[in-house]
Structures are given as C-alpha cells and as structure tokens.
Assembly symmetry: C2
Homo-oligomer: 599 residues x 2
Amino acid sequence: MQTVSKQVPLKNTTVTGGFWADKQKLNREVTINSVYNRFKDTGRFDAFRLDWKDGDPNQPHIFWDSDIAKWMESAAYITEKTPSPELEKIIDEVVDLIEAKRWDDGYFNICYTLFQPEDRFTARYDHELYCAGHLMEAAVAYYNATGKDKFLKIMCDYADMIEKAFVTEKWAEFESPGHEEIELALVKLWKTTGEKRYLDLSKHFVDIRGQECDEYTQAHMPVREQKDAVGHSVRAVYLYCAMADLAAAFGDETLFDAADALFDSMAKKRMYITGGIGQTCVGEAFLGDYDLPETSSYCETCAAIGLILFAQRMYAIKPDRKYADIAELALYNGFLCGLSLDGKSFFYDNSIEVDLIGIKNPHDNRHRPFYPITQRLEVFSCSCCPPNVTRLIASIGEYACSANENTLWLHQFICGEFEDGDKKISVETAYPECGKIKITCKGNFTLALRLPSWCRSYTLNKTAEINTDGYIYIEVTDGEVIEYNLDMPIRFVQANRMVRQCAGRLAVQRGPIVYCAEGVDNPLPLRALFVDPTAPAKVTKDESLGVTAIELDGYIQPESDELYFDFNDSFTEQKIKLIPYYAYANRGETDMLIWLTKK
Amino acid sequence: MQTVSKQVPLKNTTVTGGFWADKQKLNREVTINSVYNRFKDTGRFDAFRLDWKDGDPNQPHIFWDSDIAKWMESAAYITEKTPSPELEKIIDEVVDLIEAKRWDDGYFNICYTLFQPEDRFTARYDHELYCAGHLMEAAVAYYNATGKDKFLKIMCDYADMIEKAFVTEKWAEFESPGHEEIELALVKLWKTTGEKRYLDLSKHFVDIRGQECDEYTQAHMPVREQKDAVGHSVRAVYLYCAMADLAAAFGDETLFDAADALFDSMAKKRMYITGGIGQTCVGEAFLGDYDLPETSSYCETCAAIGLILFAQRMYAIKPDRKYADIAELALYNGFLCGLSLDGKSFFYDNSIEVDLIGIKNPHDNRHRPFYPITQRLEVFSCSCCPPNVTRLIASIGEYACSANENTLWLHQFICGEFEDGDKKISVETAYPECGKIKITCKGNFTLALRLPSWCRSYTLNKTAEINTDGYIYIEVTDGEVIEYNLDMPIRFVQANRMVRQCAGRLAVQRGPIVYCAEGVDNPLPLRALFVDPTAPAKVTKDESLGVTAIELDGYIQPESDELYFDFNDSFTEQKIKLIPYYAYANRGETDMLIWLTKK
C-alpha cells in the first residue's frame, strides 16, 4: 500500500486569522487558564507530588495523569506558536515532579504508585497505559514546541519499561490496553525519536487485540476483521487512529481497509448529523446502525475529537473528501459544541435535542432515562474533554493540509500559512461564514482543493476537473493567487429512511455548519414548528452571540382547544430562528432542536 | 343542580348480538375461567381461608381481596344474564369464608388479619378501604344478580364498622383512603340498601380529602378546587366517579363542575388518542398537559376502565356527547387493547408505540427507561386489570342508555334491548364495524341519539335537529323503527400543536376505532412509512385476526447508501396495512405505531 501524502505538521502551519484565529486567541487567553485553574482547584496538578494521604481532600483518580497530560500537550501547542514562559514553567514543574517521582524502572502513574504499587499492569481496565499514552503525546508536543527533551526522555524510558513488561519480559497480566491511546502515542514517539521499537510496540498492542471477547474495548476480534464500530466510542476512535498510523507506517493495506470500513460504519450508519458519535450513555458506546436517539444522545466531546483525529489520519494517507468532510462536520458541530462561547465551560456529553419537559418529568430510579446535561460545566469528575478541546484548538493548523513531493492538499479551509518543503500556501478566508477562499501560492506545485460534498456549485479562477476523490487538482505557479468560491446556500437535509427518529423531519445546514432552533428564540414546543424546504430562508447574524444565524419562513399549527381532531392543512406563518448548533446553550437552559418537522 | 337522567341499570339491559355479544360470549366462556384459574394457581382464592403461614407458597398480598372481589363482581354480572350455578358456587364459597373469617366488628382483610391485626386503619397507603370497596361492589352486584343478601349484609356490617372507625369513634389513624374506590362503592351500597348513612360516609371520604398535601392520591387540595387530573391515574378516576355520584345524589353543582373540569383536564390535555390515561409509569400517574410520550406510555388498562366508569356517570347526569365520545374512545381502544383476542391474556400497561430496537437497546440500571410489556400475560403479581376487564365486559349493557321520565338516551351503540319504565328500545347494529343502527321503539317517548363528534354526516329516517349537547332528540311512537346511519369514513387525525410528540404525524381512525401499523404487516421502521391524507384508503378485513383492517396507499423514502443528504421529495409507493389498535400484539412481538408520519 502506497501512502499518498503526509500531514503538514504543526510547526509548518500558522493560523493567521479568521474563525480559528479567534478560537485560538480565546483558547490561549481564557480556556487554557480556566482548565488550569479548575485542575489546580481539584488537586489534579498537586497529585503529581505523590504526597496525597488518607484524609486529604481531592483523592487522586485513575484518569488524572491523562487530564494533566492533555493540558500540557495543549500548553505545548500554544507555546509553540505564541511562546509563553508561564505555560512552560507549569509544564517544567510537572515534568520535574514526574522525573522525581517516577520509578527506577521508568514507570509513572499517580494512583498505582500511591495506592497499589504491587499491582502494576494487572488490571486491564485501569487506564495505566492510557495515561502513559497521553503523557507521551504531551512529551512529544513539548519537545517539538521547545526542543527541551527531558520530558521526552522520561517518556522513552517509560515506553521501554512498558515494552519489557508487555513484550520482552511479559510480566504484565494482560495483553492489550483496556483503553486505547498508547498505540497512537507510540507512533508519535517513533516519529519524534526515530526509534522503531516504539512503532513495533504500537503494532504489538494493535495486533494482539481480539482475544478478550470484549466488544466494549474493541477486543472482540482481531482488528483487521472488525467491520462495525462498536463499544466505547472514544476507545474505538483512538484505536482506529493507531490502525491508520500503522497502516501508513507499514504499508499495511489490510489494516487500512479495516480502518476504512470502520470509518464507513461510523460515517454512514452510526453518526449524528453533528458528527457526534457514541449514541448511548451505557458504556459511552455505539448503538447499532441507524439508531440515533436524540434526547438521550451521548456524543461525548472526546469521541468527536477522536473521530477528527482519525479522519485526519485517513485523509492524509489517502486523500478522499469522505474523510475530510466528516472531519469538518465533526469539527464545526459535534466538537465545537463542547465549548462555551466564552471559552470557559464544556459539554462532556452533547444533546442532539433538548426537551425540557421530558427532562423534568418525574422518573423513579429505575426508569430515569439518560439525558445529557443542558448547560456546560467548567470541570467534571472525569474531566477528559476540557483539555482535549484545548489541545485540538491549539493544534488546529495541522488539520488543514497534507502533502507529498509534488502536491499540497488543502483539506480544511483554515485561514493561515501552510508549507511543505518548497510548496507553500497562504489561505485567506472568512470560512465557514462564507465560502470565498483566496489562496496565494509560493512555489510551483499541484494544489489539491477539497470540494466539500455539501457544495453543489463553486467557482474557481482556473479550469479544472473534480477528481473522483472529491478534490480539484490544479497546477499552480509561484505567486499565483487562486480564488475558490464555494456556494454556501441554506440547505435542508434529510436522513436515511432507516433512521426512524428523523422520519418526516429536516435539518438545516449551511456550509459545514448544522443549525438548531433554541427555545429562547422560538415558540415551544420546537417540534411543532414546521419548515418548508421551498420557502424563503435568509442568513442573518445574531449579534449577542456573535454568530451567523438563519431565519426561515416557517409555519406553526394554529392553536386549538381540541386535543385530537380531523386533519386539516391549516398552518400559521411563523418565523423560525436558527443558530449554529455549536452556539446552543449559551443563553441559559432552554429547549433545542436540530431536526425540524417538515411541512 | 338538576340531574338530567339516570343510567339504565344492568337488569334492564340485554346485549343481544353484534360486537359486544361476541365479547361477552368470550368473556363468559374463556376469560372468566382463565382469570379464575390464574387466581386459583396463585393462591388468591385460597387466601380467603386465612390459613396462610410462613413457608407456604403464595404469600397473600395486600391487593388480593380486591382481585377476587372484582372477579366475583364479574361473575355476578355474568350469572345475572346467563345463570351459572358454577360461578355462584365459587362466589358462595368465598362469601362463606368471608363470613367465617371476618372480625366480630365486621372487618375483613386478608393481610391485616394474617399479619398485623393490631394495625388496622393505621396505614393510609395499604389499600384496606380499596379492598373493602371492591368487596362492596361485588356484594351489590351479587345481590342484584341473585337476590341473595348474605354477602350484601356482610358488607353493610363492614361499612358500618368503617363508619365507626373513621367518623363516629374516629380511631382510624388517617382520614381519607390512600386509594380511592370505597367512595363509589358506598354510593352503590346506598342505592341498593337505601341506607343514607352509606352515602354520607362516601361524602365524608370525598369531602375530607385535601389535607394530606399528597398529589399522588388526589389529596393535595379539596376536591372541589381540583382542576387538573394529577397523581395515580386509577385512584384519580375512581375518585372522580364518586364525585359524579355525589354531585348527582346531593344536587351538588360545585362538585359536578369540579368533576367536569377534571374530565376536561384528561380528555382535552392528558389523554392518548386511545383514551389511555396516566402517561408515566412513575406512580402510574398523570404527566402534565399535552405531554404524551409514546414508547414509554403507561396507560394502565384499569385507568381506561376508570375513565369509562367516570364518563358514563357524567353522561347520565348531564347527557353531553363529550363524555360519551370519550367513553366510547376508551372502550374500543385503550380498554379493549388490554385483552387478547383469544380472551386469555392482558396488558396492564399499554404501549402507544412499540419500537423494538429502542426496547432492546442496552441500558444500565440507572438509565433503563420504562417500556410497557410487548405481549399480554395471563396474570400479574399486581393483577388488578384482568378482573376489571371481565367486569366491564360483563356489565357493558349498562353503558348504553340513560333515561328520565320522558326521554331515553342512547349513548353507546350496543346491539341489545334497553328499557326504562314504559320506554324500551331494541338496537340492531354491526357497530363499530359499520355505522348503520336500527332502533325499534316500544312506547311513546323522546329518544336521544348521540351523534359522535367523529361523525361528519349521517342519515336519519326522521327530521330532527342536533342539540347543542351533541344528541339528536326525536319523538318516537310505539313500534316505530328508527334508522340511524352514521357515515364511517377513514379519517386522518392530528393532535393539538402542543403535543410535541405528534408533530407532523397523523393517526387513522374509522368510527371510534383507532388503527395502528404492526411490524408483521409493514416494512420497518414503521416511522419511515408516510401517509397522505388525500390518497386512497380502503376498508378491508384481516381474516386471521377477524377484524376490520385498513389499507392505505402510502409511501416510503427510497433506500439510500447515505446517512444524510440534501432533501428531495422522492418517495416510493408503499401499501400500508393497519389493524385496530385493540387487536395489536396478537401475532407475536412486533413493532407497532399509531401516529404515522405525514407525507
């Protein structure tokens, strides 16, 4: 198998303006500090001192190493682009603590060291390797950002120790990690150090899966035989990332095909229109094909992130808009919804529909269905999502492009500068608010522009054909300015007929953005609003939220004193205001609906 | 307040054929015996021996007195019309046991006598008075059926004892019954014995409610101030029955107005299209206005029965089709669904929609939503519904007519003979299969015919105006034959816009019958079937079920490989087969849907 291109790494990218520069500024100035403060408050940073004792507040939790690791990774990305001695100081302090407190054999884990040092690598579900993986990712990011290698070396030692425990000496009491993550981290460690044993260790962990008969951790069958995305959704997509990485590293076509099938399983059968995945709270897991309940959606923010990480790997390996389209969908909707507009609070699970009457109904303990929280929080007891949000925003530049010797692919329309060798582009755009993209090229090369599948018409100041992969390939010369205009009308979207929840209903999208109706803007119940896909619809602005809004000429059934009555086709005109899904729940608790009833 | 008419009692009615004669035959030949056998198997009859001891199987339950009481009441109605020495023998044996085992002061209760004799009337929620009430109803029915007064006298003694405990001596430790029932039973005892103290005791129990701050038992405010149907739905409708009875007995207009408001609260805001009430399993209770969840509907069969009992009282007191229409709706749908077509098994809770994918989804203990059972059972641990079904079918004749000196009202189109003094009618009809009703009159009087609100056109072989109460009043002469033909087209029904669950969806009705689609007859998912209210629809017959069926020229979305795609108006034609809701779940576990998606 031939890898078509490689991702243009963060260091070769600069976000220069537009939508994502704003988000990065907020991330740098608000979010990273807010997450730091909450992690400080809750004892997560202090836990690295390994001096917690019975009776102290804030007993360390098995996930905490990874929470701080992701925060450090985020801070590394931030300081790489906007140097911050303050952030570096925090990271250095944590690294010093890890160095001081790690075991002689290289092992580091807060809870196991404190509470059950004799039980290392005995409990498959205890997240030791998951935490290790996140620390490795942080170490790689920090090394790339600053050139400081202390953290990286510590994590190499740890990786070596893990190799012994699981491969050479085989004293670990399980074989595959209970929560995937280290597999993709080891690939990064290999790429950064050049030490192939880390790649091999990753391959070992991926290849050995399938003996546990455990669907929840994707260990129900060998990964190359897996066709359906099942089990815990974040675990799943982290594994799929590693599968893509290893397929590329080893030219393993079977592994790539398995990853592709799993991508399709999600994208074509098990994904909300927001790019959210993992339909049920039970095990934070996938449900079956086309089963997409709304008020009880789970859609963990980390799962949307993992889907983006996975899709990005796939579109670099083999550019195809099917991957980049889904990455974009998840990015602007399922992922971005996880963060409040003020940058301070987060959704862990994300609603597809908020029905406050249903949520507030009386339920006994046995029959309380799951509903996602209706308002974002600053921190959670399991707070994996907040630092995952900050790290994706901080590293967003590397989602834009991939390249090979001759060609530079522009997958995501991010305003910025991207270069690979002697190929460089400057992208100027107000995307996703509008579809006008100006690309100034430096060098002579082939530029591949994604034509999103949602786009029905576009203009380009060069003549070019659309390739079957969904990209437009054009030869550019040094200094050439490409003007690419994607028509971005308001679109009414329907679901596959097998999605029983969406029958007779339409979602509204414009460009990659999915819109929703909120109770604060519209009469209740939201489901009683009817949309006519042929009626006028206009793009407006919600100044208070600072987002693009949509106003539809919709309808509502007339009021009636009767509960049931013979059908009549009478409707009253009713303006319907929609805002981007990612902007919902920023004005207090209110109903929210994506799938509107079709007139 | 002037009571307009009085119900024509069972003794003055004979069901002579048609739909209800078939049901009564099944009830007499199958259901009454099946319920008897299950109650015998489970120790309910033997419990009246009061010899259960630790270690024995079938420990008596607090509800059991009432289960057998309702069975005896049913058997009494049956034997009144079709004398059955076998049924009488069983009743006599139970009565002998009650006589032998009751307390010297007249008290009888299986569990309290066996387990906590010192605690009588100390626990408001323990159903002592509920059981007593059902025994009183049975005693009245048996006296009316056979003229034997032993049971009636026993229950009069018990009522006298209760009056002492709660009124005269006031040693009972609560004031109002925790489960209403005795209130309406005492009215029956008064009507049968002429002893006004029973009526007064009923009034006492109704008037004293409201000090407990307990919405669940309708004791949150004085009954005359209650406007919304709240709390446990069976409790509620049994109370409302007594309110209607007392309003009539005392000419209490305020009480009637409260009952009327509570009726409207249910019929106009808190009732499923089937006449099912009590939306939630939590407390088997009402939810708020217009909140009618489908897959988690509760709709206890006893609640539909209670609604019919209440509506019947209201339409006798003040004939208005709003009451009789709802009684009819609940009778042919929410009630009748509770019984299998073979007469042997029962629903306790009734689904409005069966979505097997949703039901079979994984749920943890905390997040398992309530779903009604999908298949009827012969007996339940709390088996109130089965004998309640048999008693309503056995006494169906008395739901047909009410009368005053000059007028006979025909409320329900039941094939039979009904008389009040010198006014008599013979009704011949295949209703509800067709709307043709032939009424042969004996005597000279005013005949009032309900024009159901679902009926848009009718013919009558006499000229007459429709009264504002929804009845057609005609003067008839001895021997006159009235031919009343109700047009019974297939109708598409929509719900009030506030019912968020039903937006964009239509139910199909013909006459009083609500239809549904079952998975065994139609492609899945049922929600993906689209109906066009302007398209052809025809009435057919399902021979295997022996019921009228409907075939619609409907639609289904074409298949697609995509999960989400731009709206297009393409549909494939798809025949949709509907059967009466009451006949669903007679062919194994399958999906079921009433509210179909509107094209």
